[in-house]
Amino acid sequence: MTRKYAFFPGCVLNAAAREAREATEAVAAHIGLELVEIPGWSCCGASQIQDIEHDTALAANARNLALAEKMGLDVLTACSTCALMLRTARQELAAGRKDEVNKALATADLEYKGTADVTHILWLLADTVAQWGPLVKKPLKDVKVASFHGCHTVRPPTVMTHESHLNPQSMETIITACGATPVHIPERLKCCGFHAVFPAEQTALRLTANAADDAKKGGADCLLTPCPLCQMQLDMYQPDAQAAVGKGGDTPVLHLTQLVGLALGIGREKLGLTRHIISPESLLAKC
């Protein structure tokens, strides 16, 4: 398959969760997906700017979308919050804010038309299993994977329309295509706590510990998430969560593309698997 997308990495994929970016790009290259980074993309607001200066975030995202439109491509991101922010902005612009925002964009010689769709690598991979499935070289037949969907790929369902928000199956489809066994955990549609890690730190740590512990109890070798923010929260803060709550602490956390990369036979360095806080060694031993 050859498809071309305007790639919106987002700030976290670009920095603290760089391994997710490396994995996304490696997988894309491997399965014939062409990702062209949007030149000059900016922060999506991460739901933070939206909360103090809504229109600033809306304008920034209109600019991001306008840049993609100039490339004549749909937007692809590997971050759930970026996907939600961009899609929410699209919806809002379509619902009557387009003209006024375009006046702002005009100051930078840009125009938002509304032609570029925004998709998530999760949805793309789930929808194209038939194409890339045959490329799986190393089926992960001994690996049990707990999917942690998180919030922003499914909620709110009026914006995230790809699949049922109650019973989404895209993660399971992909895990199965990788030859691994999906483990259903009660926490799979819960919040990781990332967006309130500072103002509600104890809550965030407990949510992190719950997810890690849940996966462990379910016999999973790792948690798998389609979102670098969830990945960062669950991985980087897991030791703090363990210290605060007394559970979790040794559950590896992978970005979706890292697991797919392993199944496709891509090297672990190329997938950034050497830089995790919670060592994925026990998992890698089974791959």
Binding site: C11, V12, N14, A15, A16, R18, P39, G40, W41, S42, C43, G45, A46, Q48, I49, D51, I52, E53, H54, D55, T56, A59, A60, R63, V101, K103, A104, L105, T107, A108, D109, L110, C151, H152, R155, P156, P157, T158, H165, L166, N167, K190, C191, G193, H195, A196, F198, P199, A200, T203, A204, R206, L207, M236, P239, D240, T274, R275, H276, I277
Partner: protein
């Protein structure tokens, strides 16, 4: 005959158990009609509440397979299709104390509603004898928030409340506060906002369950955001929440992208960050998440500005001036 099974979570004041009920499939049933059928034909001890059966009184919210719905407004077929199963688990809505079976305690929620300082405190130019003036556009700003029927669905799966409800409120309380905060007739909209800041306004996790579950398509998360913006604009910028958000905004204007190294000290203050986050920082460096050189560079000189940063700044400034 197609048989539907409801596994109902029951509670009689002391004992909790799950009871299975079966009944004949009928496409004309709603979830509420199914419950009434069970109570009246099978088990008079089954308790739930319902009143208008037209989705406007808010009495009959229950959880189907863990997710809140208005029982009267939900066709049985809809949930059977959603879950691809003829067996459904019916439970009381979450984040409420259960009185019996599907009946929950509203009295404590009524008291929490009072923290929103409900009831209009109108501007001095208005009085009870002649009423108020408000433009259709100003009415439109508060109309959606007034659709709240106090069914509790928004609170049921709220991730923050489930973890800890002592430093946060039900999303509908925030919506109530915001409908006065945004009302052009209010003498002081900030009155309601300030109360909500005290009650955890900045602790929302953005899990979006409230927005997803509201049967009236209200977005309590947007109400929380609107009040955060009001508080921030009024100069209430202290605390980790507003400082965190402000750090994002600063980065957007400075370089176009987030500077993660500066984010923590900006949110928590340099001293706190340096003392409290030392272990975390060392961990990042040790595992190669970040090199020491990168970290120092980012902290001292910031991100390299994005291509077209001047354009982005123009856009932001234009938007701000337009306000």
């Amino acid at each position: 005959m197609r048989t539907i099974t409801f596994d109902i979570d029951r509670f009689d004041g002391t004992r909790s158990w799950t009871q299975s009920y079966s009944f004949e499939y009928d496409p004309a049933l709603t979830v509420l009609a199914s419950l009434i059928l069970l109570k009246e034909k099978q088990d008079p001890t089954l308790n739930f509440t319902a009143s208008c059966r037209s989705a406007i009184c808010g009495s009959c919210a229950v959880r189907v397979n863990g997710n809140a719905v208005l029982a009267c407004d939900t066709r049985l077929d809809t949930v059977l299709t959603q879950w691809q199963s003829d067996t459904l688990r019916i439970s009381p809505i979450g984040n409420f104390h259960v009185l019996s079976d599907l009946v929950v305690d509203w009295s404590e929620k009524v008291e929490r509603l009072r923290t929103a300082k409900p009831g209009l405190k109108a501007k001095a130019e208005f009085n009870a004898e002649t009423g108020c003036r408000q433009s259709p556009a100003e009415f439109a700003l508060i109309q959606k928030q007034w659709d709240c029927i106090l069914c509790g669905s928004c609170a049921s799966e709220c991730n923050k409340l489930t973890d800890n409800d002592r430093d946060f409120l039900e999303p509908f309380v925030f919506t109530h506060a915001n409908r006065y905060a945004q009302d052009s007739r209010s003498a002081d909209g900030l009155l309601h906002v300030k109360e909500m800041v005290k009650q955890g306004l900045w602790k929302c996790l953005h899990c979006m369950e409230c927005v997803t579950k509201c049967p009236k398509q209200i977005a309590p998360a947007a109400d929380i955001a609107a009040m955060r913006a009001m508080a921030f604009a009024a100069g209430n910028t202290e605390g980790k929440g507003p400082r965190h958000a402000e750090a994002f905004r600063t980065d957007l204007e400075n370089s176009g992208r987030l500077n993660e190294v500066r984010l923590v000290p900006r949110t928590e203050g340099l001293v706190d960050a340096a003392t409290g986050r030392m272990g975390f920082t060392l961990r990042m460096l040790k595992h190669g998440k970040l090199s020491t050189r990168e970290a120092v560079e980012l902290f001292v000189t910031d991100n390299k500005p994005i291509e077209g940063i001047e354009g982005l700044r123009k856009i932001i400034r234009y938007r701000r001036d337009a306000k």
